[in-house]
């Protein structure tokens, strides 16, 4: 972009030295340098964790420390496979996050369709209530949650965890999906209704396909939220059988289950981040749009 902006400059401006270009170009280069520095500060720690997960045990303790491994090994991953319950955790997390996102997105789809097609009394009050739910402290939700699931005899289980995730990701998915439904012209559906389709048919044949990108993006983002969550996971999924990825990470880190090598902990971090990275790449565009709507859960 910067090059375009300066292309109208007279050639004399290029100066005697190739580096000394127009002022705009210098500023552009400066911006780029600062931005790259910021990204390095943000991402180098992630990269360092990743490369360190391939170091042999002794190299992690070498003084002075090395950045890149001198020898790339899979010991950390091997240990992770043998000594931790990461495999069970990955399976459990996938199940919990899939169930939570499916339920949550299904509820939000119905909700968003109705509020964009029908006018109902009390909607303003309801929008305020939704914002309220949005900022409710998780730790406060915990007390009634523990009571409810305790009464139902579900303490420590994947189902209560998934249901809890549905509840706390719901305000977010509604915010993210609403604009997608509002963006579908009413005329499209009316035309189908005039042609003799009933509302259910028009919803399935017309609305759902048009809202699909938004639905997929919302699904993936609620999946990521559920995958990353720690507090409720620690409460509901701490037993050996019911462990999820975030509880495995925090157990490894806090060494509750014995002593663990940094190679193994780093490997666990990499394994936990990979699905998030892949999903993130798939929905990056929609995510930016979601942020523009001003709707994200912290």
């Amino acid at each position: 972009m910067g090059v375009e902006a300066t292309s109208s400059q007279p050639p004399a401006d290029r100066g005697a030295r190739g580096l000394l270009r127009s002022r705009e170009q210098q500023i552009t280069i400066l911006y780029l340098l600062i931005a790259v520095t910021i990204v390095l500060i943000l991402e180098v720690p992630l990269i360092y964790m990743t490369v360190s997960s391939f170091k042999p045990g002794v190299e992690v303790y070498r003084v002075p420390p090395t950045f890149f491994p001198t020898e790339w090994v899979l010991n950390g991953y091997q240990e992770l496979l043998e000594l931790s319950n990461m495999v069970i955790a990955l399976r459990n997390s996938t199940m919990v996050a899939t169930l939570a996102s499916t339920l949550g997105v299904t509820l939000s789809v119905g909700f968003c369709y109705t509020i964009t097609r029908f006018r109902m009394p009390g909607m303003r009050f309801f929008t305020i209530l939704m914002l309220f739910v949005y900022v409710l402290p998780g730790i406060l939700l915990m007390i009634p949650m523990v009571r409810i699931w305790g009464k139902l005899g579900l303490t420590g289980g994947l189902l209560p965890l998934a249901l809890t995730y549905v509840s706390f990701t719901l305000p977010f998915s509604i915010w993210m999906l609403r604009s997608h439904f509002a963006g579908i012209p009413l005329e499209l559906e009316e035309a189908a209704l005039v042609d003799g389709a009933n509302r259910a048919q028009s919803f399935i044949k017309i609305i759902l396909p048009l809202a699909r990108p938004g639905i997929i993006a919302t699904f993936i983002f609620t999946f990521i939220l559920s995958w990353n969550e720690v507090l409720f996971a620690t409460i509901f999924a701490s037993s050996q059988k019911n462990v999820v990825v975030s509880t495995t990470l925090s157990n490894l880190l806090n060494e509750r289950s014995g002593w663990h090598s940094w190679g193994m902990i780093n490997a666990a971090g990499v394994v936990a981040t990979l699905p998030v990275l892949v999903f993130f790449m798939l929905i990056q565009r929609q995510l930016v749009a979601g942020f523009t709507e001003g709707a994200i859960k912290g």
């Binding site: 409710l136 406060l140 990275l277």
Partner: protein, 307 residues
């Protein structure tokens, strides 16, 4: 039926019975979940705060009046946890706002690779917080930490104890929190920046405003609403944040990083007292409400002064 409920079609047509049935079936589940979430936890926590209710025996309920509050007020770490949390919240939010604003303004400029850089910033917001804890506990560790070694090796004038000493633990937690969460600020600010009409800047330029003046009189007023709401949301979420502290220091060393959410958690799962945990949660909500009212009032006042 639909008329009596006050339900109409946005498109203006007549609401058929089948429309109404379908609308209710699709609307009600999410509606009920949200109403339930917006009211039940608050009411339950409020009631529980006046009861003695051990976690391992949820059916034994004894009304104890203000006993939970008196015992919580005598808790040696209660005031410490609240003052810690206030320091933690104000410091990390300030850093996030300033850095977030600077980076948002930068990424709003036009230069090659801008979109890729935006993507990286966004990713920093979505990757697991537990992984952030791993990274920083690894890099700052006194046995294997690369940052620890570099500071030692170069004799940098930086206290090098990080999470291990009561003096440096809180600043370290604040630093990591700011690092993990400032991308949220960048993205919300950036989203708003992109909607500002370019002609406003052109007009300001014609009037002879320099870059600083353009920021002060065009950018900042346009951003103000989003700054207000973002700061409010992030403050609430940071004050209530359990996970980052739990993962980095678990409240230690010597209670130097303990916050009310950690205290609630420990009261619940180490002292098994649902009543006292609810009392502390209740105090948290009150603190936040007071802070919110004060904040919005201060904002209203500053608005008046500006105009």
């Amino acid at each position: 039926m639909a008329e009596r409920l006050g339900i109409t079609l946005v498109s203006g047509g007549k609401v058929q019975t089948q429309d109404l049935v379908m609308a209710l079936v699709m609307f009600l589940p999410a509606f009920l979940v949200l109403v339930f979430l917006g009211t039940y936890p608050i009411i339950t926590a409020l009631i529980t705060a006046f009861q003695r209710r051990p976690l391992f025996d949820l059916d034994s309920t004894v009304w104890v009046g203000l006993d939970n509050f008196t015992s919580v007020f005598q808790h040696p770490q209660l005031w410490n946890s609240f003052s810690n949390d206030i320091v933690f919240t104000i410091a990390s939010i300030s850093i996030q706002t300033v850095v977030g604003m600077a980076v948002a303004l930068l990424l709003h400029q036009q230069f090659t690779g801008r979109n890729i850089l935006r993507g990286f910033v966004l990713f920093s917001y979505v990757f697991p917080v537990a992984v952030a804890a791993i990274i920083w506990r690894f890099m700052l560790s006194d046995s294997v930490g690369i940052i620890h070694h570099l500071i030692d090796a170069w004799n940098l004038p930086i206290p090098n104890t990080w999470f291990a000493s009561p003096k440096t633990a809180m600043p370290s937690v604040i630093m990591v929190t700011a690092w993990k969460y400032f991308p949220f600020m960048v993205i919300t600010f950036l989203a708003r920046l992109q909607t500002i009409d370019v002609t406003l800047y052109e007009a300001a330029k014609v009037d002879g405003a320099n870059a600083l003046q353009r920021f002060r009189y065009v950018t900042l007023p346009m951003l103000m609403p989003v700054i207000i709401i973002t700061l409010l949301l992030r403050t609430i979420w940071t004050f209530n944040n359990w996970e980052i502290v739990a993962l980095l220091t678990q409240g230690g060393p010597v209670y130097s990083t303990i916050t009310p959410p950690i205290l609630v958690y420990d009261t619940l799962f180490k002292e098994f007292s649902l009543g006292r945990a609810a009392a502390i949660s209740f105090l948290m909500v009150v603190t936040l409400l007071v802070a919110m009212v004060f904040y919005l009032y201060a904002y209203d006042r500053s608005e008046e002064r500006l105009t």
